[in-house]
């Protein structure tokens, strides 16, 4: 039986797709057979971030409608063993996501995969609801910014009332915070909410803090999950977060302004 994770936020543009790509890749790198599913029907983007956009033949909706077999729609990552992408449809709308259809596909994937990662669309409508309904674990992607924090709280409410686990009175979906686009320098200047502020308000455990990083744009430009950029802070922060998700005890990095290294201090002195 596989574990189902939803990457969700309520708000759009906070880093769900970036985080889904990074997380799925990180789980696969650690040897878990992982599939990442794009639930953003009509606005397909995970394929671009994963760099497989040219290879999409069939999609999630084709499989739900019985127009293609699951194994025909799954795209095997060319770089990483154990990593698969299930792209969504670019032409249909969210009504194509029926609960029965989604369940059927997830059940079939469950036989084969260790982790199923669902990349939620923004909002709290059908696509978002379907992506979280069957989840065992929720990763709440939040930016240190007022509207994002509020929307995250709203999604926590939805998870607690409208997920399968809630409806069937099972053990609740686990909820962890992934604070992304964090800028320690602005935090220090008092211009941005601190990690602790957000934690206090949302009151869920902290999975990781992903710094604002230029590496993210560079990675999406070339279609490579940023976690593979092992020299970037964002990549390392995602790696740590995956480790924590798997139960490892890893200290948080990149939450305070980076000390100027010896090299740059020397440079400055000589300049």
């Amino acid at each position: 039986m596989s574990k189902i994770i939803v990457m969700t936020s309520g708000k759009g543009g906070v880093g769900k797709t970036t985080s889904s790509a990074a997380f799925a890749t990180g789980l696969a790198l650690r040897g878990f057979k992982t599939v990442v599913i794009d639930f953003d029907v009509g606005l397909r983007n995970l394929d671009l971030v994963m760099g497989c956009e040219r290879r999409v033949v069939f999609d999630f909706i084709n499989v739900i409608n019985g127009e293609a077999k699951l194994n025909q729609a799954l795209i095997k990552d060319k770089r990483i063993e154990n990593l698969y992408i299930l792209p969504t449809s670019q032409t249909r709308d969210k009504d194509a996501l029926t609960r029965e259809g989604v369940e059927k596909v997830l059940n079939e994937l469950s036989k084969d995969f260790d982790y199923i990662l669902c990349d939620s669309p923004a909002g709290i409508e059908r696509g978002a609801l379907m992506s979280l309904y069957f989840a065992d674990h929720a990763i709440i992607v939040t930016n240190p910014e007022v509207s994002s924090v509020r929307d995250s709280d709203r999604i926590l409410g939805v998870l607690n009332s409208r997920s399968r686990r809630a409806e069937q009175g099972l053990e609740p979906v686990t909820q962890q915070l992934l604070l992304t686009r964090y800028d320690p320098e602005r935090v220090e200047k008092g211009e941005m909410l601190k990690v602790d502020d957000v934690l206090e308000i949302l009151a869920i455990p902290l999975l990781g803090v992903i710094p604002e990083s230029q590496a993210v744009l560079r990675a999406s430009n070339v279609g490579m999950p940023v976690i593979l950029d092992e020299v970037s802070n964002a990549g390392l922060a995602y790696s740590d977060a995956v480790g924590r998700f798997l139960g490892e005890d890893i200290e948080h990095r990149f939450v305070t302004p980076q000390k100027k290294g010896l090299f740059s201090r020397l440079l400055r002195r000589s300049a």
Binding site: L48, E53, R54, R55, V56, V57, F58, N62, N65, G66, E67, A68, K69, N71, Q72, Q90, T91, A215, L217, R218, A219, S220, N221, V222, G223, M224, L228, D229, E230, V231, S232
Partner: protein
């Protein structure tokens, strides 16, 4: 090539790659926007034709696509059964199927959903 190289030392800047990738994928999307998505139907009809001659397992059909700027390649891999079986199957099918090229009428294996998907598109 290490990942480090991939990010730092590629000959083309990442923004150039971004533009090229977008141009390719969006050209295909815009072209496809007018008509129906033909791939599910194409696959289904292709399989129906082949199924007239050999037994095929739908789970052993692999469809790969690589969209390029100038041309795209569609690769369909169908695992055929052993030769003897194939002959026998072909003979059997030939007698049980009406003649003609009505691929839509070809018998589908279990799970008629595939047929429905194609039929919907034909309208």
């Amino acid at each position: 090539m290490s990942i480090f190289n991939f990010f730092r030392a590629t000959p083309r800047a990442s923004a150039v790659q971004a533009k090229e990738r977008l141009q390719i994928v969006m050209a295909h999307e815009r072209a496809g926007r007018s008509g129906p998505d033909y791939l599910p139907m194409l696959q289904q009809e292709l399989l129906a034709v082949i199924a007239k001659y050999v037994n095929i397992d739908e789970n052993k059909v692999e469809v790969k696509l690589d969209r390029g700027g100038d041309c795209s390649t569609l690769e369909v891999n169908i695992e055929l059964p052993a030769r003897e079986q194939a002959k026998a199957a072909a003979a059997a099918k030939a007698t049980e199927k009406p003649a003609g090229n009505d691929v839509g009428a070809a018998k589908r294996p279990a799970g008629g959903a595939v047929g429905n998907g194609g039929a919907k598109k034909r309208i």
